[in-house]
Symmetry: C2
Amino acid sequence: MAAPSIRARVRAEMIDEIKAVARRHLASDGANLSLRAVARDMGMVSSAIYRYFPSRDDLLTALIIEAYDALGEAVEAADAGCDRLDLRGRWHAVCRAARDWALARPAEYALLYGSPVPGYAAPDDTIGPAQRPPLALIGILRDGFGDDRLDPPPAAEVTEPLRADLADLAGMLGGELPEALLARGMAGWTQLFGLISFELFGRINRILPHRDAYFDHQTALMADLIGLPRAD
Amino acid sequence: MAAPSIRARVRAEMIDEIKAVARRHLASDGANLSLRAVARDMGMVSSAIYRYFPSRDDLLTALIIEAYDALGEAVEAADAGCDRLDLRGRWHAVCRAARDWALARPAEYALLYGSPVPGYAAPDDTIGPAQRPPLALIGILRDGFGDDRLDPPPAAEVTEPLRADLADLAGMLGGELPEALLARGMAGWTQLFGLISFELFGRINRILPHRDAYFDHQTALMADLIGLPRAD
DNA sequence: TTTCATTCGAGAGCAGTGCTCTCGCTCGGT
DNA sequence: ACCGAGCGAGAGCACTGCTCTCGAATGAAA
């Protein structure tokens, strides 16, 4: 770590600036990021960018990782700002944080949760950061289950082929979450990003003017499904 | 209507063929449809396409409308194939039909429910066809509510700003659906397309091998939330 | 301090894209 | 039999991602 040579430092700064300019372009021009336009904005010629990113996809990947981390951080911060015992408050805080982040950066959200870019396959570097948002939700479930404070409504049992899958997944997550609860948590996660996507991609704008209220109500519905305790 | 002149007929055939070729390209090459490639595939030069579609976006719009209609038809057919009184069976049939359609035509699904193309704004022609899938779901709710056969688990009431929005929406849908039930129906719709999107965009492939079972379980969870009666 | 090699940016160029415009030809409707 | 509407071809413009080469700057070692 010591002695980051001067060259390496200006190089890192250059990379950061490229990413910053690219993020700005993403926000204004939508998802079709033009390397040449970024270069132009920096007073460089397009080929110079290739000194820093081997291809446009690599630049996109860097932006995706940063976006996942930013979203994950926003979500985790929202969770951390709550009373650990107020499970329902944490749930809503996490959901709202994800939505606020998405509404503030629609293009970056689309990059993460929209249709995958045709030729593009997400490299392994992205899977870690991508797990931070769902892990925040799972953390709430785990705390609630550990304290035996969840009271989910009844439902059909988890039957066999799926039960084993969910058990494996629970094991990877550190064990002890029952399969049915994990399934409900994933339903909540799915619902959260379905809600955000529908809102962002213009599927409910015309019919539901009060979108905040709609969002809160629907996430509360999922909190009920999971069994998060009502008003402390 | 009478006497579709020969010119008009070959023109319509031409349009159909272009759409067919474009759909093929969409399926193989992903979302970035190349007009020139389509033209090449038809043994034409690119400018000739513009005799039939004013721009690439118009061709995409035509494909989107067709895709919405195809999905709507698949969903409605699945619903129609069920005993009208088997609400839960209808629910699962509709959900599975949507998923099957999406898995068979991932690129077209991404066109409909993925991130919106940057400069592209969906014209009004699309909103009618786009409503067919959710309307199929709403139809199940309506039948169940009309026969007083729904038994949803308890939840917080729908409070004011949202209540009015949902009442308006219920009015547009032909009235009589209570707000809380409509909200649950929309939650089911959101969950359905969240599930399909997560599956299609590769967000659960690694962790849940038995995806059919997962899908059925999660849609059953939403059926419970809506209050669709269990096993007749 | 001088040299040297690494690193960088510029520029030209290739193949591809959406789209426009013009020019002839063909063929359907009168 | 005619003739004009409609059509396809072709060239061209501005743009894209990407490659390659060349000269210049500059940090690091001697």
